[in-house]
């Protein structure tokens, strides 16, 4: 299991509690499928993924994107993805990159502002907390991956 520091936990809560899952989930997953098209291999039954114009409004992808955000701390889903669905673990890093970008797009400068407020270090440097936010999101997906082992 991944060990969380108090700071990481607070950064993560600050970010995720402010997110609209119904918006961010679909955007993160569809961005992943567009920017890293080989990830589409796992979504054969999800309908038309032929191009970005088809991926973005695809309701099956949207629903799955929302599910992904809700399910990030459920161990049984991690086992499912690794053992039944055989998802290459690298894909979690790709999704994590896209999720971070979507969060940054939505929050803008607040992305770093929220982090600063959540950060307990009195001399926190903007980018260090930014880095903390980024690695926290990555770590959350990594823990999802590790839960299966």
């Amino acid at each position: 299991m991944v060990e969380w520091t108090d700071q990481e936990r607070s950064i993560l809560n600050a970010i995720f509690s402010s997110l609209d899952y119904e918006d961010v989930g679909p955007k993160a997953l569809s961005r992943c499928l567009i920017v890293y098209p080989w990830t589409q291999r796992y979504f054969a039954g999800f309908g038309n993924l032929y191009n970005p114009e088809a991926i973005k409004p695809n309701p099956n992808i949207a629903n799955h994107g929302i599910k992904v955000l809700h399910g990030l701390d459920r161990a049984e889903l991690s086992v499912l993805h690794s053992e039944k669905l055989h998802v290459d673990p690298d894909n979690f890093k790709l999704l994590s990159d896209c999720l971070t970008i979507v969060i940054a797009t939505k929050m803008g400068n607040a992305f770093t502002g929220v982090i600063q407020a959540a950060s307990r270090s009195s001399c926190s440097v903007l980018p260090r907390t930014f880095h903390g936010a980024r690695t926290s999101v990555e770590k959350r997906l990594r823990s999802f991956e590790i839960m299966a082992h």
Binding site: I34, K56, A104, T105, P127
Partner: protein
Amino acid sequence: MTQHLTAKDKQVVTTFWSKIASKADDLGAESMLVTVYPQTKTYFTHWKDTSASSTQVRKHGITVMGGVREAIGKIDNLTGGLLTLSELHAFTLRVDPANFKLFTQCMLLVSAIMFPNDFTPEVHLAMDKFMAALARALSEKYR
């Protein structure tokens, strides 16, 4: 993986660049590689201050971004166009090419913050491909 930039990729990149070019200095200064990935500080031991607000850090971000600007101007022949820069990085600076990927990640993330409406998935894809091609061209002279 070797990917080639398609005509569409180049068009998306140059269009996006024309929208953000006036803010390129800010983008560079904010793509604070040194502070987000502390291991990169090893290249800057001659700087006293390596925080995000450091003038040297921000100035260097602007310099690097100038390189990106140059590359965009040479998008039709990155390998040939960036030979001198490649030699600089390979023989003088000796930057481990893994760091090109880190810079890309920072730059794309700051792009998302600064230009949320323009940094669409399609633009993200083209910029990611472009930066990978740029990194390959920069690594050309390494060995």
